[in-house]
Symmetry: none
DNA sequence: ATATCAGACCTGTTCAAACCTGTCTAATCT
DNA sequence: AGATTAGACAGGTTTGAACAGGTCTGATAT
């Protein structure tokens, strides 16, 4: 990085950035640990001698980086434990035999309206981003899973359908939109494949597959993602450590 | 493969949630058993250093989950008869349709030697207590699950085979022997029933059942119990909150 | 001995005040 | 023009207090 730019940064630092940087240092240095509550915005106003809007902008950038989450009426909390937690929550799918290389194919990336799902999730809006994918073994091209994600449309996600997924990954896309999993539920059942799904998976209809449904929520309890996965039991097992 | 973290549950906790979570942990861990009376609201006020209204909101959420009931002038009592060790950790099995009453039948309670299992669990001794059970719907007597527990023999458990299970429950037996689950692993797969198991379950051989295997360890990492369950997918789903 | 009653302790309910974040706007500074 | 400020308002969370009424115990009167 150019020296001039460095100096520009250190000298003409916006107050917003100074607030964000100071707090980020506290977090990354461990001075503020995972789960700790930050001072209230008004306390930060006094500490940094800036206006509340400036403090809020600083907190916003931290939230955008996924370092903190903020809840109305309560405050801001550190949600950074050194590692991005992404899919670490919930169960782990393990390729049963060995970890064969898998290839992901995108079947669909579209805006849809699904009033049934909206009702089931108790949402007010019917708009979802649908992301349907299959995963296949790289050597045999055998389809081992079909995954259908539904992400309730919210601000910052409108461009996903036209621009595509970040790094080809839905979780990376959601993360870059500031959506971080805080809690969720998961179900696992057996489903005998429909003719349509069986055709996709290349098996005979009625073949029993493992079906998992996962509902992921953010810190505010808002639904981030609902995923239904159909997993070939020959290649997948669910694994959970607790 | 990644290790899932269950503990990173609620990070940004309101005080209300903190109270509820703490008490729920006490209940689900068996520290507070069925019928036990909780501390009075004022005692909880002092313990958690929050206001009584906050305590009451926490208790309300527990009551909403059916974990406790509260009686005017007396106090709150644990009304959760769920198995403290058994199903509390890891996946929860849910009877899918309604909460049909189930009847547990003991197929076997015996001392066995199983070198294969001992090897798999990396134990030094080969002795296990075998507890095989079926669960049936009370109305139809249809067998909905077959469960085979293997408990490595240790001091304080020798009399179990002759004396039977405490309250007819393996988890109560283990708890009374001072064995408390601290961590574990669980797998879920699909298994097409063998002729023998199909006969027990009263279905045709090859019927796909949900198979869960759970390995429970105590705080020292010693194996407490290894359970293989075969669950009728028509009546059971696995459910996990994280 | 029995009935009664006061007092201690419990939960049920309500409420205002204090504090928190979310949002917006207009004025000010550079 | 963009960053910053100061303020106002809305709405969620927590507090502290008050009062009502249920439950229990023990002292008291009969």
């Amino acid at each position: 990085m150019a020296i001039s730019k460095l100096r520009a940064v250190s000298v003409a630092t916006a107050k917003t950035e100074r607030v964000a940087q100071s707090l980020e240092d506290d977090i990354r240095s461990g001075k503020l640990g995972f789960g700790d509550q930050l001072e209230s915005e008004n306390a930060l106003v006094r500490r940094f001698a800036v206006s509340r809007n400036t403090v809020r902008k600083g907190l916003e950038t931290l939230a955008g980086k996924g370092l903190i989450t903020t809840r109305v009426g309560i405050g801001s909390f550190v949600t950074f434990d050194g590692q991005p937690i992404d899919d670490a929550l919930g169960w782990t799918r393990a390729l049963s035999k060995q970890q064969d290389a898998v290839h992901t194919a995108l079947l669909r990336l579209a805006l849809i309206i699904d009033s049934d799902l909206s009702c089931m999730l108790k949402l007010r809006k019917y708009d979802f981003i649908a992301v349907d994918r299959t995963r296949s073994l790289k050597n045999t091209w055998r389809v081992v899973s079909i995954e259908r994600s539904r992400v309730p449309l919210r601000q910052g996600l409108e461009a996903v359908v036209s621009d595509g997924l970040v790094d080809g990954s839905l979780s990376a896309t959601l993360l870059s939109a500031g959506l971080r999993a805080a809690s969720g539920e998961e179900w696992a059942e057996i489903e005998c494949l429909s003719a349509e799904d069986a055709a996709i998976a290349g098996v005979t209809p009625g073949t029993p597959f493992l079906r998992t449904r996962r509902l992921v929520r953010d810190a505010e309890g808002e639904v981030i993602e609902y995923v239904v996965s159909l997993l070939d039991p020959k290649h997948f097992a669910l694994h959970l450590e607790f």
